[in-house]
């Protein structure tokens, strides 16, 4: 048991480290603990914890199918550990998913709010149902020792074949659907990974991984508990996995050849190197090792083969899940250490649960005996504290909890201040709406008289991409004016007049895309270069100089708020540009959609029609007002594109 105890100590340490990160993650959010961004929203947690975890747990359905459907009874002794591994794997997936979900407490939403068009909906249901099936499949094992549950156990044993069949069906469905998730993004995934047959590739590799995982787990626990390795039993499993891997290689390269993508194999991107590492680890090296004579006899050789193949296939899931993503700005996603720690912590927790189950229930033929737990054994002094810590259970309690606590403290030490206090969204300054808004006065005059508007009146079409990324919304300003009642409709949207301006543009106060901004510029008012006001010209004398004791802005700025403005200003903290636009536009669109029974005008795609290379199309030099009121001409934006 010395090896088990050493491993448990390490696992509890990892768990402690992960606990520190987990507290930070749930308190301060994903921004504080991950390198994920709007450009790469899926990373290691989806790739490893969810997709890798589901694939690693494939051993459950592969082995139950082998034994109960194909009646290969010589593998009966590995059914229980395989089902236990699968069960813990799916529990780990569910827990890992909670970390990655922005609103983890909404995880049950998919059971009520159905979206039958989404592969994720299917994956969610299948994982939920299969976890239930696995629980029912494994439940008879712990129930063996409890006489009160004997009838439940007998019922579940009778139900075994139907459960196995349902389990295989559910596994087939969602192992492949995890691949279907990525069919939606042909331009985001590097061409060596994207394939219309991704679901098939995922399913085939999951079978191979399931078999390899059974081998790995068997030999690893044999090493841990000093049991006799099941080399003979594992050999046919390894050979079966070999055939699956050959099929996988044929499918993958055949698909690349069929679609004419083979030239990418020797391109000079770093993703190509990643591809070769992945293919070598998941198929080529294991296949070569399977061919050697050592594979028949040597448990170490089998162990190494399975370890390499498992690493390779999990790497494949991580690559598809985020590492091989082509981000819009060409930015590279590499996992933050905290993401790795959480993943390791979840694996550690699952392993500890596995060891617990193995030691307390009859997962194997015989429970592993602990020679130190013999009451006749004489106590030994602990080498560090020079005391007797107690029986193995009590000593373990003392040591593991200490390892956990110390590691958690160390984790909090490592989580630096900026990380513990989330930086939130990156500041993204906004700019004036682009486009030919023209002379609205001339347009209104033309509308009144019924004559065609002169050329100088402009088209009245704006392009709203205040962060200048060319991903924006085409806004038919003139059309909105005409629909909402001409001149008097300005105040429906425009609710603030900047000094020396009327119906000022949104960007003047909503100065950041994603962050609220202060529309009142205190520095400018107090600065000698600005308004050059003394404190007491605004703040009341004899009171603290806060916003509570100050005269209203409208005392000086008489026309700050346009008469009849529908949006009432209660605070000078302006919401972000995105929030302001969405609240204003969607609010109106939803009402009109209901009134006129046109549901489509409240959809996202009604306005967000995609990318418009505005600057190139119109050769337009857009401009904005600098704070001092001068007109500044900016160069067109540079948006580096991979495609």
């Amino acid at each position: 048991m010395d090896r088990v105890r050493r491993l448990k100590l390490i696992l509890w340490m990892l768990l402690g480290l992960a606990a520190a990160v987990a507290i930070t993650r749930f308190f301060f959010g994903l921004g504080a603990t991950t390198h994920l961004s709007d450009a790469t929203p899926w990373g290691l947690w989806v790739g490893f914890d969810v997709m890798g975890g589901v694939a690693l747990a494939a051993g459950g359905f592969v082995v139950t199918a082998t034994v109960y459907i194909f009646k290969l009874d010589e593998f009966h002794s590995i059914v229980r550990p395989a089902v236990l591994t699968a069960f813990l794997g799916y529990v780990a997936v569910a827990v890992g998913l909670l970390f990655d979900l922005g609103l983890p407490w909404h995880i049950w939403y998919m059971t009520i709010y159905w979206n039958p068009h989404s592969p994720l909906f299917e994956v969610g249901w299948c994982v939920m149902l299969y976890l239930t099936v696995l629980t029912l499949e494994f439940f008879p094992v712990p129930a063996e020792d409890i006489s009160a549950l004997a009838s439940v156990r007998r019922f579940l044993v009778k139900l075994r074949i139907p459960l196995v069949i349902v389990g295989i069906a559910l596994s087939t469905l969602h192992q492949s659907s995890l691949g279907s998730l990525f069919l939606i993004m042909p331009y985001r995934l590097f061409p060596l990974w994207y394939s219309p047959i991704l679901p098939v590739l995922f399913f085939v590799s999951a079978i191979g991984l399931g078999l390899m995982m059974v081998i790995l787990e068997s030999h690893f626990t044999a090493y841990l508990y000093r049991r006799k390795p099941e080399t003979k039993l594992m050999r046919p499993l390894g050979e079966a996995a070999g055939w699956v891997l050959i099929l996988y290689l044929a499918l993958r390269f055949g698909d690349l050849a069929y679609r004419g993508q083979l030239h990418y194999l020797f391109a000079s991107a770093w993703q190509v190197k990643l591809f070769w590492v992945e293919i070598a680890a998941m198929a080529i090296v294991p296949l070569v090792m399977l061919w050697q004579r050592q594979f028949r006899k040597s448990s170490n050789w089998q162990w190494a083969t399975a370890a390499i193949a498992t690493t390779g296939i999990v790497l494949n899931r991580i690559d598809v899940g985020g590492l091989a993503d082509l981000s819009r700005g060409g930015s590279l996603y590499l996992p933050e250490w905290t993401e790795i720690v959480i993943s390791l912590g979840i694996v550690a927790a699952a392993t500890l649960l596995f060891l617990f189950m193995v030691e307390h229930f009859r997962v194997w033929e015989h429970r592993p005996a602990d020679p130190d737990a013999d009451p006749r054994k004489l106590p030994e002094f602990n080498k560090v504290g020079f005391t007797w810590l107690g029986t193995p259970v009590i000593a373990g309690r003392v040591k593991y909890s200490l390892a956990f606590v110390l590691a958690a403290g160390f984790g909090f030490l490592l989580l630096g201040s900026p990380r513990a206090a989330s930086m939130g969204a990156t500041p993204t300054p906004t700019h004036r709406a682009r486009g030919n808004v023209g002379n609205i006065g001339l347009q209104l005059a033309a509308a009144r008289t019924g004559k065609p508007a002169p050329a100088t009146a402009g088209t009245g079409v704006l392009y709203l991409d205040a962060d200048l990324t060319n991903w924006g919304v085409t806004f038919y300003h003139q059309r909105e004016i005409d629909r909402n009642g001409g001149e008097k409709s300005c105040v429906i949207c425009h609710h603030m007049n900047m000094p020396h301006d009327q119906e000022s543009g949104c960007y003047e106060c909503h100065r950041d895309m994603y962050l609220p901004t202060d529309s009142f510029r205190h520095d400018w008012h107090a600065s000698p270069k600005g308004a050059n006001l003394a404190c007491v010209q605004c703040h009341e004398r004899g009171y603290p100089r806060t916003s509570a004791h100050v005269k209203p802005c409208s005392d000086c700025h008489k026309d700050l708020v346009p008469a009849g403005a529908t949006i009432k200003i209660t605070t000078y903290i302006a919401p972000s540009y995105v929030d302001a636009m969405h609240t204003l536009c969607i609010g109106c669109h939803v009402k009109v959609a209901q009134k006129e029974n046109k549901p489509e005008i409240a959809r996202c795609a009604e306005c967000h029609k995609g990318k418009l290379n505005f600057a190139a199309a119109q050769n337009y030099l857009y401009s904005r007002h600098a704070p001092a009121g001068r007109l500044v001409v900016l160069p067109p934006p540079k948006v580096s594109e991979v495609h």
Binding site: F27, F404, G409, F412, A421
Partner: protein
């Protein structure tokens, strides 16, 4: 020096606080589990729950039991503990740090009250130290570390009081803060691993002695067997029964036999 202060206020404080909270939780749970184990081992013994409850409540509030025996000591000690716990948690400057870093805050003490409480801790702490050093019976049952704890505990209060009342020593603010924060971190760090852990273990002390501190049946014989006296019945007072074999075993680093 600012960098050192920032380190102690940031990462080191997080480490200390995490170790304190988790460490106290750990020993509390371990103690309860051991009480459970002890109860299971001695299920044939009678445990007087009512007496345990009465004793625990009696000792937790010193005005009941200790007051009758040592009124001055119990009053000083009680006041010391009140100030020690209340002041750091409800000090406005500390709450401000919490609000800036984590974003949570709660009601604060007025500065005047905090000042008086700090002085209370300093003087009662010094009083406890002097009482231990000058009162002969107390000195006899004291270990060397017992003189250290009151001095360590009042260090952040002295330095914090001087730093927040700048008129006392206007030029040493940074130095005072340095000592204040590092000694505070050290206290948090030491709490779960030293006798300061009585802050959570004290309510359990009567439970442990009442429930767990009983030998399981046949324990005496097993102890004798372990110590190498298996051939002698333990209830016979034997002059030849010495601790020499045990001492030798300790010297060797293992147990005899």
């Amino acid at each position: 020096m600012t960098a050192w202060i920032d380190f102690a206020r940031g990462p080191l404080f997080r480490l200390s606080l995490a170790l304190m909270v988790l460490g106290l939780l750990r020993i509390f749970i371990i103690t309860l589990l051991e009480v459970r184990d002890g109860y299971r081992a001695n299920s044939d013994k009678i445990v007087s729950w009512k007496e345990i409850r009465r004793q625990t409540l009696g000792w937790l509030f010193p005005m009941f039991r200790l007051w009758r025996q040592r009124p001055i000591y119990s009053t000083v000690s009680f006041l010391f503990h009140i100030g020690l716990i209340v002041t750091p948690i409800f000090l406005a400057s500390h709450i401000l740090l919490w609000r800036q870093s984590v974003g949570i805050s709660w009601a604060a003490l007025p500065q005047v009250a905090a000042n008086w409480l700090a002085l209370l801790v300093i003087f009662t702490g010094a009083g406890l130290f002097l009482g231990r050093a000058l009162y002969s019976p107390a000195r006899k049952i004291s270990h060397r570390q017992d003189y250290f704890w009151p001095l360590l505990l009042i260090t952040p209060f002295v330095t914090g009081y001087i730093a927040s009342n700048a008129v006392i020593s206007p030029r040493t603010y940074q130095e005072m803060m340095l000592v204040h924060i590092y000694s505070g971190d050290l206290i948090l760090l030491l709490i779960p691993f030293t006798k300061l852990a009585h802050c959570v273990l004290a309510p359990l002390s009567q439970l442990v002695t009442g429930v767990a501190w009983k030998f399981p049946p046949g324990a005496g014989d097993r102890v004798a067997e372990t110590l190498g006296f298996a051939d002698r019945p333990t209830w016979v007072l034997n002059p030849r029964l010495t601790t020499a074999p045990v001492e030798e075993a300790i010297r060797k680093g293992g147990v005899a036999k």
